[in-house]
């Protein structure tokens, strides 16, 4: 048995160097050359400044923008660093609400949000993804229904025609992969950037 000690140390060290250092560093190098944009985090720059990542949702509150889903992420409380407080779309601390199916807190939150949205647009059914928090708290997408639901509000805020906005939503809708995998979706940040571009023309 004693003769197993030498390989236990040396085989471990060598496999550690191969899989723990050589492999991730080589992959970082190769990926940085072949897919430089993705490797850095699919960042979007506007006027030389990073405004976000295509893949990471951000918080939109203003009426003139399409809103993403509610986010349950938290961050350190500025008033008391031992506590955490709600910081929606905190991309340095991802997470979901973890509220269960019979949670009263969840039921109350849903009820409140549904009422708010019904007041905003009484003509359509409230899409479920617009009132539920995502798993990561950073969901960059909403369903096409959730985007169309918000069209009247944005049309009013931007003084644009609803038809133009609906057209933009349809244009930015990504279908299922190969018509099969995943769900149809609209990237909120990309759509809002397109809105701003259209407005500045």
């Amino acid at each position: 048995m004693l003769r197993e000690i030498r390989p236990a140390i040396l085989v471990l060290v060598m496999l550690t160097l191969i899989t723990g250092l050589a492999y991730p560093l080589a992959m970082t190098g190769v990926a940085g050359v072949i897919f430089p944009k993705q490797a850095q985090g699919s960042l979007i720059e506007k006027d030389g400044k990073v405004v976000g990542s295509t893949l990471i949702g951000q918080e939109f509150k203003e009426d003139k923008y399409f809103h993403g889903r509610p986010s349950a992420t938290v961050g350190p409380d500025p008033a008391d660093s031992t506590k955490t407080t709600s910081v929606p779309y905190n991309a340095a601390n991802s997470g979901g609400s973890n509220m269960g199916p019979t949670s009263k807190a969840l039921a109350d939150r849903l009820k409140e949000d549904v009422e708010k949205l019904k007041a905003e647009n009484p003509s359509a059914a409230v899409p479920v993804d617009l009132v539920t928090t995502s798993g990561s708290g950073l969901d960059p997408d909403i369903s096409p229904e959730a985007a169309l639901f918000q069209v009247p509000r944005i049309a009013k805020a931007r003084n644009m025609s609803e038809d133009t906005l609906r057209q933009m939503v349809t244009m930015s809708t990504q279908g299922r992969f190969a018509g099969l995998l995943g769900e149809p979706r609209v990237n909120v940040l990309a759509l809002n950037l397109a809105l701003d571009r259209a407005a500045s023309k």
């Binding site: 048995m1 197993e4 236990a8 040396l10 085989v11 471990l12 496999l15 191969i18 899989t19 723990g20 250092l21 492999y23 991730p24 992959m27 940085g32 072949i34 897919f35 993705q38 490797a39 850095q40 985090g41 960042l43 976000g52 990542s53 893949l55 990471i56 918080e59 939109f60 509150k61 923008y65 905190n90 991309a91 340095a92 601390n93 991802s94 997470g95 979901g96 609400s97 973890n98 509220m99 269960g100 199916p101 019979t102 949670s103 849903l110 899409p127 479920v128 993804d129 539920t132 928090t133 995502s134 798993g135 990561s136 969901d139 960059p140 369903s143 299922r176 099969l180 769900e183 809002n192």
Partner: protein
């Protein structure tokens, strides 16, 4: 439930079966020591490792030596992870300036990674440096996966060999598994994932100014290289806190589908390796069929439950299923399917928050883990777990006809059955035992995030997940307290190694036995009767053991939900 949803599920199963055959062929060659198309590149590295490590590649080991070698290998693994976590503040590759991790959390995480559990009491992007993620976690993702696989191979050799005292050489198996199986797949897989949008950088976290002018710190890192092995090795420990729900850790529906395939592919391939090594591939397909039956049943229930949603949602007129805790790009079907796969295998990565699943949708992952993760299972661990249940099923069949049972030419006798029972009894002992302790300990119950039966489910899930070395969680439970860190580590350690040692004892005793040729009285183990028998034994054993606990958690919660009760 939709036709397009079921098409995705069926497509998934077909591809897994096809890959199982292909990889089964390749892995059999690797573990038989034959040369492969990668040998010209890898053989020199392999030889160098043996030379430096003082390994005589031709000398095989007795099952006990093999097991001791494996345990020694893990002692080193624990020390490396624990050391890195405690010292990360003063080590390089730490651009986010993470401080040292507390003792109990470091201990829990070290045990968690050597046991292939990857329970996340830590929050990746908020706790760990890049160095800890790479050397500590990425490397152990490889090694715990390789260990699981080679232990299964050793047990398979026990069935396949006749009158031999050895089961292989641990150092050779683990080196060949890492170099020939895991690394090449991971290299291709990493590049695919980066192409799909996963970051792979050593640069610092990105500061962005959002369209509305707010500051957003975006955590990045060497994500893809870790995620590749995290999925392939059924480790499941996320680079980020939200794991595969995080858009950087699972950017598209396609990356999600391929990640789901990678969870099952090696485990499924091992059934084929079994068939090839015992000389009849149908034996492997029969095992995969047992797994397939249990898997499809689980998927159907979870998908149905999640698509139906909750009474809270329907009372507000919200349709489209239970989207709380799920991502839009995956939707209901890919989230439910992922949850069943990740717990059927011992992966534990999540692309949706299991804590927010419906009561019945969340019960399927619980059951999958409590059965010991034998539905494909963790790489290797699923195979040896399933073989333990098969030993038991064969024993039951033998009792019915009053004849010494045989399986693939080996007589299953008292020693094997005792060892199999010993291993299987560990599951209820650790899962129900620790859950019982936790629910009467006020400090532990204070960690529950949800009130009512769901709080109990959170604790039951925590110990099921850790004992079965899964690593997924009902994440609301605040697991990072001393009590859960320590008891969880015990559950993970016992759950892993108290399964392995009896399984290896069986490997040793089987290898020494002579093979008996099949006769007219031999129970055929390739047909539907065998598949049905094994499924039955698994469900009866699991059902009898865990039904009372499930009744207190998800089942009563489902009834409460139907009565519109909230807590």
């Amino acid at each position: 439930m939709t036709a397009i949803g079921w098409t995705q599920i069926i497509l998934y199963c077909v591809i897994v079966a096809a890959l199982a055959k292909l990889l089964g062929w390749y892995m059999t060659r690797v573990f038989n020591g034959e040369s492969t198309f990668l040998s010209p590149v890898l053989h020199p590295i392999e030889s160098a490792i043996y030379w430096i490590g003082g390994v005589d590649a031709r000398r095989e080991q007795h099952w006990l030596t093999y097991t001791v070698a494996m345990l020694l290998f893990h002692v080193g693994g624990v020390l490396i992870i624990y050391g890195l976590m405690r010292l990360q503040a003063s080590l390089p590759f730490n651009p986010a300036e993470m401080s040292a991790v507390a003792e109990d959390l470091s201990f829990n995480t070290a045990i968690s990674f050597i046991t292939n559990t990857n329970w996340q009491n830590y929050g990746g992007e908020s706790t760990l440096s890049y160095l800890t993620q790479m050397i500590g976690l990425t490397h152990q993702n490889f090694l715990s996966a390789a260990t699981g696989i080679v232990l299964a191979v050793a047990l398979i050799r026990g069935f396949a060999r006749s009158s031999m005292r050895t089961v292989g050489n641990f150092w050779v198996d683990v080196t060949r598994c890492t170099l020939y199986v895991l690394l090449p797949i991971c290299i291709v897989f990493t590049l695919f994932l980066v192409w799909q949008g996963m970051p792979q950088t050593l640069g610092p976290y990105v500061e962005a100014t959002t369209l509305e002018g707010a500051k957003q710190t975006i955590a990045v890192g060497p994500v893809a290289s870790q995620v590749a092995i995290k999925m392939l090795g059924t480790n499941g420990g996320g680079f980020f806190n939200a794991n595969a729900a995080h858009p950087f850790e699972n950017p598209t529906a396609l990356s999600n589908f391929v990640q789901m395939l990678s969870i099952f592919v090696l485990g499924a391939a091992l059934t084929n390796v079994f068939g090839r090594m015992v000389g009849d591939q149908r034996q492997g397909w029969a095992i995969l069929a047992v797994m397939g039956v249990l898997f499809i049943a689980g998927v159907a229930i979870a998908y149905w439950a999640e698509a139906n949603g909750t009474s809270t949602l329907s009372s507000l007129g919200l349709t489209g299923g239970n989207m709380e805790g799920k991502e839009v790009r995956f939707g209901i079907v890919a989230s439910s399917l992922f949850a069943v796969i990740t717990t059927a295998a011992s992966c534990g990565a999540v692309n949706a928050m299991h804590d927010s699943f419906t009561a019945l949708g969340g019960m399927i992952p619980l059951i999958n883990m409590q059965l010991g993760e034998i539905i494909v299972g963790g790489v290797g661990a699923g195979m040896y777990g399933m073989l333990l249940f098969i030993v038991l099923a064969i024993f039951v069949a033998g009792l019915m006809v009053g004849r010494t049972p045989e399986y693939v030419g080996k007589k299953i006798e008292a020693r094997e059955v005792k060892m199999a029972m010993l291993a299987i009894l560990i599951l209820p002992l650790m899962i129900l035992g620790w859950t019982a302790v936790a629910v009467v300990y006020p400090t532990a119950t204070a960690s529950m995030a949800n009130a009512g039966p769901h709080g109990f489910s959170e604790v039951l899930y925590a110990y099921s997940s850790q004992t079965a070395n899964n690593g997924s969680a009902f994440g609301g439970l605040t697991g990072n307290i001393f009590f859960y860190n320590v008891t969880g580590a015990v559950a993970m350690f016992v759950g892993r190694f108290m399964m392995i040692v009896p399984a290896m004892a069986i490997a040793g005793s089987l290898a020494e036995k002579k093979s008996v040729p099949a006769s007219a009285g031999t129970f055929p183990t390739t047909g539907g009767l065998f598949v049905g028998l094994v499924v039955g034994v698994i469900l009866i054993l699991g059902g009898l053991t865990f039904f009372p606990a499930l009744a207190l958690g998800p089942i009563v919660e489902h009834l409460a939900m139907n009565a519109n009760t909230v807590f």
